[in-house]
């Protein structure tokens, strides 16, 4: 077996463990009771949930993201980098067949994603609040994910680095369910509940009411 096959297995096993862990986490939360809301609706839950997952995430929509727009945009580019790195992973058996324009787009997105990822570690260390709030797992998670994006970037430019990319993918995959990276699962729940709760009360994502100016 060559090095690519061995490291490919490491990646697959790591991701499979990660997927299994995520499934168990989803099973856990689905086994919890769901808090029904018996109060009469004041607004549309559907509109608010849609808002929570779309315009509600725009950087200008919340005061917090307007103030901390650098931190917010850093996070956005970091996560776009993560998605692109997974794209690189899926395309990895055919990297050499990819058109060069696609390789350059991928490299640009992952390159910036990696920079913004590592910048997250720096910002945690530099910010007094962030330093107090951050746990060792936060640093490890951001570092590992940033490394994953970095190696996606490097592999696009030098396909010989593919084994390293696979190894880091395997490690990160296995680490997902036991680390803060698992927020990727809970994000969808919390955003849904956010939209549902505030939409039910007519607080967010609603059309103008009859008393509006």
């Amino acid at each position: 077996m060559d090095i690519i096959a061995i490291t490919g297995i490491i990646a697959i096993v790591g991701l499979a463990l990660g997927l299994l862990g995520i499934i168990l986490k989803i099973k856990d939360i689905m086994n919890r009771p769901f808090k029904q809301d018996l109060a009469r609706e004041r607004g549309s839950v559907g509109r608010a949930v849609l808002f929570a997952f779309t315009l509600g995430m725009a950087p200008w929509e919340k005061e917090s993201t307007r103030i901390h727009w650098i931190a917010y945009l850093r996070g956005i580019f970091f996560h776009i980098g993560i998605f692109m790195a997974f794209g690189v992973l899926l395309a990895s058996p055919w990297l050499e067949a990819l058109p060069s324009w696609l390789v350059w787009i991928g490299a640009a997105v992952t390159g910036f994603g990696a920079i913004f990822g590592f910048a997250g570690i720096f910002m945690r260390l530099a910010g007094p609040n962030e330093r107090v709030l951050s746990l060792p797992d936060d640093y490890a998670s951001v570092f590992l994910t940033s490394l994953f994006i970095t190696l996606a970037f490097a592999t696009l430019l030098r396909p010989a680095l593919l084994p390293a990319f696979y190894v880091v993918t395997g490690i990160m995959g296995a680490y997902i369910p036991i680390s803060k990276i698992r927020h990727c699962v809970y994000f969808f729940y919390s955003k849904f509940f956010f939209g549902k709760g505030f939409g039910h009360r007519g607080v967010i994502g609603q059309p103008k009411g009859k008393y509006a100016e």
Partner: protein, 461 residues
């Protein structure tokens, strides 16, 4: 640094208490709570959304830090790595030190106003986390004394200030007389226990004890609108401090007392006085505590006043309110209840010069008096300090009057005003509305009063 006022023995954690608190956490762990406990990435952008942080920027005032105290306990129970490496994932046992941190963060520096929830990019519901922590502490008898007493008095006396039925009825009757005298209209009444009236109205006991003129204002509005309304003597307190203590059993009992009173009178709508948390409790939480839907509608007096104006039922003259007015949105009505346009609509129709404070509406800062803070004297200093964000907002408007529609806000704003030396008057919305009402000249009526006649005849002699 634990508050030196918590020296009572009941604040000592025993093994039994720790087990009970953990049990409460396990019982209350639903999907919503688990999502909020798991999803935080500790980015810290929630910091500036908290009035405690804005007034005194320190890491302990960051909402994520507060929630993190309960998360540490949660991780010990549910995180797969916590057993092997608790420090790595920030897990901690529920010991004396942790209980003290929970008291300080859940009771001492959070009003559960929800501003951080609206501002969290991940959708973390810190209100829910903090209320869960309060529920755990209340279950082990570690609620701050004032809050505990407020709930207990309500359960024992039927209202949170222990007002007797006699005092309640006498105060209302006195206000009825005052209203009739003010308007020269004896047809203005404040009815008690009127069967099948359309509306049952409630009060905050503070109105009965300290602000009876607000009873008069409400009665003036109802009478001007020609409403079919009544008060109940069975249950009339709009407040429910079970919301703040996290005690769902007490909250359920208090809410169901009011439900029974409305059902006995056969009203179709329960109108909550201008009381932020009372509205939130009865309108949004109570049916979930009780476990069934009410057969009647619940609405805020603010909504009803806006409705009257929209329907042309209140003849208003805004020139009677000439001074510049700004409005403080009570968190439990605006952010946690969706009542944002109504007070503005009311003010546009009742005052000459309305100016918004910034930010306002859903993004308004908490005044610092929410979450039961006014009852917890242990944290009075921090509460006043946290009011700085509001004081700065008010000062920037140049307003002479700050209107609001919540009694806790009213009291806190009054303290903020004195503490930060603001030259403003704090008023309830209904006071401004009542003041703007143009009362029609009553028809000539002969008042038959034997006593008066007798007195008059004696005088003439």
């Amino acid at each position: 640094m634990f508050n030196e006022k918590f020296t009572d023995e009941r604040f000592n954690l025993t093994d039994e208490k720790a087990a009970l608190a953990i049990d409460v956490l396990r019982q209350r762990l639903n999907r919503q709570l688990e999502a909020s406990l798991e999803v935080c990435v500790r980015c810290g952008v929630c910091a500036d959304s908290c009035h405690y942080y804005v007034s005194n920027p320190k890491p302990e005032h960051v909402p994520a830090y507060r929630a993190e105290q309960l998360r540490k306990v949660y991780r010990t129970l549910f995180d797969p790595v916590a057993g092997a490496a608790p420090g790595w994932v920030g897990a901690a046992e529920l010991d004396q030190e942790m209980v003290e941190k929970l008291i300080m963060s859940a009771f001492g520096s959070c009003t559960m106003c929800g501003r951080c929830v609206i501002n969290c990019p991940m959708g973390v519901d810190t209100r829910h986390i903090v209320r869960t922590a309060r529920a755990m502490l209340t279950a082990i008898d570690m609620t701050p004394e004032g809050l505990k007493a407020t709930v207990n008095v309500h359960l024992e006396e039927g209202n949170n200030m222990g007002v007797t039925e006699e005092d309640y009825v006498e105060t209302v009757e006195w206000m009825e007389e005052e209203l009739q005298a003010e308007l020269g209209d004896p047809s203005c009444v404040i009815p008690f226990n009127k069967k099948n009236a359309r509306i049952v109205y409630t009060f905050n006991p503070r109105e009965i004890k300290y602000f009876p003129y607000l009873i008069q204002a409400a009665a003036k509005i109802f009478n001007a609108a020609g409403e079919d309304w009544t008060l109940s003597t069975e249950s009339w307190d709009a407040t429910n401090y079970g919301l703040f203590s996290g005690d769902d059993v007490a909250a359920r009992q208090i809410a169901s007392n009011l439900e029974k009173a409305v059902n006995h009178l056969g009203a179709e709508t329960l109108v909550m006085a201008e009381c932020g948390h009372g509205y939130r409790s009865q309108r949004w939480e109570a049916e979930n505590w009780i476990g069934h839907r009410y057969p009647f509608k619940v609405m805020s007096f603010v909504e009803l006043q806006a409705q009257y104006i929209k329907e042309g039922r209140l003849p208003l003259d805004p020139t009677r309110n000439q001074k510049r007015v700004t409005f403080h949105d009570p968190c439990n009505q605006a952010r946690n209840g969706g009542i944002v346009d109504e007070p503005r609509y009311i003010l546009r129709n009742t005052v000459m010069d309305f100016v918004e404070m910034e930010p306002h509406g859903v993004e308004n800062y908490c005044c610092g008096g929410g979450g039961g803070m006014l009852s917890m004297t242990e944290f009075a200093g921090a509460r006043k300090e946290a009011g700085k964000a509001k004081a700065d907002q008010i000062a920037a408007t140049g307003a002479e009057i700050v209107a609001t529609s919540c009694h806790n806000c009213l009291d806190q704003l009054d303290e903020v005003k004195r503490h930060y030396k603001l030259k403003v008057k704090i008023q309830n919305l209904s006071e401004l509305v009542a003041n703007a009402i143009v009362w029609p000249t009553p028809p000539e009526v002969e008042i038959e009063s034997p006593e008066t006649d007798e007195e008059a005849s004696q005088e003439s002699k």
